[in-house]
Symmetry: C2
Subunit: 347 residues, 2 copies
């Protein structure tokens, strides 16, 4: 389909065209990553397994939603795979990719949110996706960690693992996509990051020239100005390879953190704080998250979209953490963008 | 300020101009209604009283937020008063009132959400507000009821009380604003109303001609076609009088429902269903509610805006009520628009 593209504002080099079986390759990977993650998490949980719902989308395509409830470790976890197509991308995406207007689209991806029971284990989110629409294609996605009682060594382990996956492909990837993640997972009305971030990117394609750094990347562009323009034209295989590395980095980035805290004792105080902080997750997903809002407004499968919401949540008017407590430390240190890998382990 | 209006697309009759002390009159009423409601609710609760936070808005104005927590009846209740001004209304409002562009604005209002502890007592919401901006002014607001285990006699009592308040001013008000409420408090992604509705209206001003029936009122306009155009030009006093009647109808509409169920026994099943259904309240407020989204996106006072969120909430993937249960009855009968006052008490 993309080979029949009649015209392009930015001509795409031949090497940037997807292979003939691009959709099969990516959807197979997205399913494999769902399988791999579910197996790894069920093993880490040790209590219960995922239950699967297969579903079809009337307009085209479908998916498989897997949910684990009330396990040993995970109070709730959902891992979705979907592969959908239709006659036209929604306006919110066409603004970013006007060349796709008037063309059908194909999209496949995997997304996941885990809400552990133990407040010492962070919540984690992952999503990788691939689009084709007429003359354009792109990869997007990311992963981010949301601790309640944060340990710097966990945060560093998580970021180090992601950096290693990124660095295998390009030295610009980690700093650029780490910054983009801090900007995307930000609650303006709270002036807080959602958690300690990770990596996030969108609209990664094979156009020659600069690496696309997101809608508001002036800061990072200035900071890394020597690198701007140095990212060579990337092939479809290059970018798909990068996304595969990111997907494969999930279990090694997260499971050691689970194992470190799975037997840590906690009481009502920690549980209450976790439930309160989960409210921020709801606020982010329903107020800001483009995927969630887009899905809800375009007749997506509501139960799969809202699988990201926590099983139990608390709001409390006027809550402020007491100075000097671990709860205050979360706000002071971990809910603002930081160059985690440059921090001393015991700051 | 409105008397200096230079030009108008729709000339306003002299009788439709606000009095010189319009702001003082409306803000005094909004404060009085806050006082009246808080007194009535604290008496109904019988356990604890509201705590007040006074706050100032850096751009101009301020308010007083009152919260009651863990009372005998109310798990949490918040009643806000605010009076704010600034140099320019946000674009989302200017689309509706382009004549206000380039003018400063003034806005005052009262809003309230109550989350009772007992699942047999419905959640209730109220908001009335008044705007002036250059050549235009208007009143808006409404009230709606969200039961968990709904009793038709409660729903009818609530609607009958609102209808009486409306009918004292115009026979079109109740059917028009009841319909608008059903449309506004609707969760498209769930295909459910938020609850059993009430009344809702916006942009009510003194322009001659038709009653403004909202953005999508074709149905009601056709249904009541004999009335279209029959609403005479209304004075500022007429509309303010109507809003006062609405505000004063709150305690008689709601408190008898509280009293009827305050001692009704309930168990985990009812509590779990209440917490689950509260999730819909969160979804509506964060995904659809214009006031909430506008407030969050324009540096409103977050804690006051999100006072509407329930103190404890639950989400559950794939929940479906069991057929034939009271939970199923909520979905089958009460989460769709109905002409409540035409239903038999025991359907």
């Amino acid at each position: 389909m993309t080979s029949s593209a009649p015209k392009l504002d930015n001509p795409v080099a031949a090497s940037a065209l997807p292979p003939a079986d691009s959709r099969e390759q990516v959807s197979a990977f997205m399913k494999a990553i769902q399988d791999q993650i579910c197996e790894g998490l069920a093993a880490a949980d040790g209590g219960t397994d995922f239950q699967q719902d297969q579903w079809e989308r009337p307009e085209g395509g479908g998916g498989r939603s897997r949910v684990l409830k009330q396990g040993n470790v995970f109070e709730q976890g959902g891992v979705n795979f979907s592969e959908v197509w239709g006659s036209q991308l929604p306006p919110s995406i066409l603004v970013q990719r006007p060349e796709a207007a008037g063309h059908g689209f194909y999209a496949t991806g995997t997304s996941m949110v885990l809400h552990p029971q133990n407040p010492y284990i962070p919540t984690v989110h992952l999503n990788y996706r691939y689009f084709e629409a007429g003359p354009v294609w792109w990869f997007g996605g990311g992963i981010d960690l949301t601790p309640y009682y944060a340990a710097l060594e966990d945060v560093q382990h998580f970021h180090r693992t992601l950096k290693q996956a990124c660095d295998r492909h390009h030295p610009d990837y980690y700093p650029t996509f780490k910054h983009w993640c801090d900007e995307y997972f930000y609650l303006k009305h709270r002036q807080e990051t959602r958690g300690v971030g990770g990596i996030f990117f969108d609209y990664q394609d094979g156009r020659s020239g600069e690496l696309y750094r997101g809608p508001d990347q002036d800061g990072i562009a200035a900071q890394h100005s020597h690198q701007v323009g140095e990212v060579p034209s990337r092939s479809w295989d290059d970018i798909f390879g990068f996304v595969q590395s990111c997907g494969n980095a999930f279990l090694p980035a997260y499971v050691p953190i689970v194992d470190r805290h799975r037997d840590q004792d906690y009481g009502d105080r920690q549980r209450n704080f976790q439930l309160y902080r989960r409210g921020r997750y709801v606020e982010f997903n329903l107020v800001y998250d483009r995927g969630t809002i887009f899905g809800l407004q375009t007749n997506g499968r509501t139960e799969s979209i809202l699988m990201s919401l926590p099983p139990m949540v608390r709001w409390e008017y006027g809550y402020q953490p007491e100075p000097g407590t671990p709860e205050a430390a979360l706000y002071e240190t971990f809910l603002k963008p930081q160059d985690w890998l440059a921090l001393e382990t015991h700051p």
